[in-house]
Symmetry: C2
Subunit: 333 residues, 2 copies
């Protein structure tokens, strides 16, 4: 009996802010799994800011999404049928075949989820790519020392909130910026020392008050004004972890950069970009530390959930309006 | 018999581009050297772009110059009288007591020049602070590999021209930018692979043609448009050595930064500022390598010389109009 799956395809490339019309819902009939292949029904899929970059038709570290083809991204689901002896029906697997309800793939392209009590969707968040993004770059680029002051922008998101809590575990003082008082209240509840609502009043003034001695590490999810403020308050030898610049992903025209770039010289700042796959050598260490911290309750997370594949574009669009606290997910079954 | 010395003092703080009226010439009578002190007559003094920063009244890595006081900077001269047994009349010493014809200082504040055949003023250039600036940062931040493409802005200056030649010694391809055809011809004569006149035509287009495969290391003396172009042509994992941003030192209003900052994330660029004293641990290695390269003729240099302490401000001002090829010096005796 044939299995059908609904999927979201890229219909047109967004010019500025993506909109619903850039996506289309389609239904496909899946083939029977062949030799070594597995049929999986997704339970959860991830939407992440980095996906915006793949909607441009330009060379980058990952190829652009193709028009008329389903989008891709992290997903967790359960095996339905398996022709790979390593996978049994009912087992949880992780893949990059998000944006669809079900799929057939080679077993070699799947990872089994550990059965350690964490909910499966946590492997799309704090125990998955966003968590590893936070963990690896904070240690490798940030070179944290106990007593450092860390400023995190986009702090209520999946990556930012993990950074805040890892920084606290490492003995740092944490200043977090987000765009709603509810998000800031949650960040306070997980141990952040000071919070800043970037939508309310002068950002530089607020950050100066929150970090009167300046900032040793800046974790950048936002770019734009946040980056300029971070340069202003940076202490000598500050490290800037350049994870993302969501404030400029959707601008049709290039935006001017910080007006205070000369501080990079005078303050001897290190500013470094990365993508999580650059730090694959830290994968084991990440799983060990983060797994332990989650079990001990030292790392907490929030989820913002949309339900149904037809709402996946909405979930993605909401990333850019600040609608999510913590990990933005789409529940598919 | 008293010794007199003429010196240049900071009369007023420049608002934008410094001008002659910001400086004044004064004559002082020097005291007899006391116990442990040495009387030195300067033969050469250095003017360097970084001195502009010390003319602002703001906290930085070195304190601001004081109004009404003589400026400071690198100088080499000969001992006239000595109450320190380590120094004999006639010996060459190096100090930070530039901008004056003669001075009395504690012997402990002086360094004897090696007598290895290099002209004394080379210790203000390729064998001194500018040479060490180039050598240490190129290796420590640039992490050069043979085959890398290196883009150097302000390449005809003291630091830039040393970087170009060190990069060639390390097996790199070097693209150099400067503002006159005479400078570019000299850079070609010392082995630079491709040159770009930033005053003639589209800088990005010229750099793309000179480095069609992109740039692995950018050595920044200039900032501004050069930095934006470097971000544009950077290859993945490029290293940006942020030595200076002379294009924005004298602007009264803050200038917008590069419009393509997001490349730092997407291309995983490392951009790092420094000052030469951060790398004092490399001092011995610098002296050994650079001394050998100079003796072997592998490193060449040019000098642009003004004569007389009264012309020191002019020499300094000329740094910002691109008048110098190689090290800008003032000959004092």
């Amino acid at each position: 009996m044939a299995t059908t799956s609904r999927e979201i395809r890229l219909k047109s490339r967004p010019a500025g802010l993506p909109e619903a019309a850039n996506f289309e819902l389609a239904t496909v009939e899946l083939p029977e799994p062949g030799a070594g292949e597995v049929l999986v029904r997704n339970a959860w899929m991830s939407v992440d800011p980095y996906m915006r970059g793949r909607m441009y038709d330009r060379p980058s570290y990952v190829p652009p999404f193709e028009l008329g083809q389903p989008l891709q991204g992290g997903a967790v689901g359960r095996v339905v049928k398996s022709n790979d002896p390593r996978f049994q029906p009912g087992e949880w697997v992780e893949s990059l075949n998000g944006w669809r309800e079900a799929y057939v793939a080679a077993g070699a392209a799947l990872n089994k989820l550990p059965s350690d009590g964490a909910p499966p969707q946590a492997f799309l968040g704090v125990l998955g790519m966003p968590g590893m993004t936070a963990y690896t770059s904070f240690h490798r680029i940030g070179e944290p020392k106990a007593g450092d002051t860390v400023f995190v922008s986009g702090a209520a998101g999946a990556v930012g909130s993990a950074v805040c809590q890892i920084a606290k575990i490492r003995g740092c003082t944490v200043v977090a910026s987000a765009g709603s008082d509810a998000k800031l209240a949650w960040l306070k509840s997980v141990g952040v020392d000071a919070v800043v609502n970037y939508k309310k009043g002068d950002l530089l003034k607020q950050v100066r008050e929150a970090a009167p001695k300046g900032v040793d590490i800046y974790f950048d999810n936002v770019g734009g004004e946040h980056l300029e403020v971070a340069l202003e308050v940076a202490r000598p030898f500050a490290r800037f972890i350049e994870c993302g610049m969501i404030s400029i992903y959707n601008t049709a025209e290039p935006q001017p950069g910080p007006r205070n770039m000369a501080y990079i010289v005078g303050k001897r700042i290190k500013m470094q970009g990365f993508i999580v796959s650059d730090f694959m050598d830290m994968r084991e260490q990440f799983h060990a530390d983060m797994g332990q911290w989650v079990r001990e309750g030292k790392i907490k997370w929030e989820e913002t959930v949309e339900t149904g594949i037809e709402n996946a574009p909405k979930a993605f669009l909401n990333l850019f309006t600040g609608a999510n606290t913590g990990k933005m997910l789409v529940k598919l079954d």
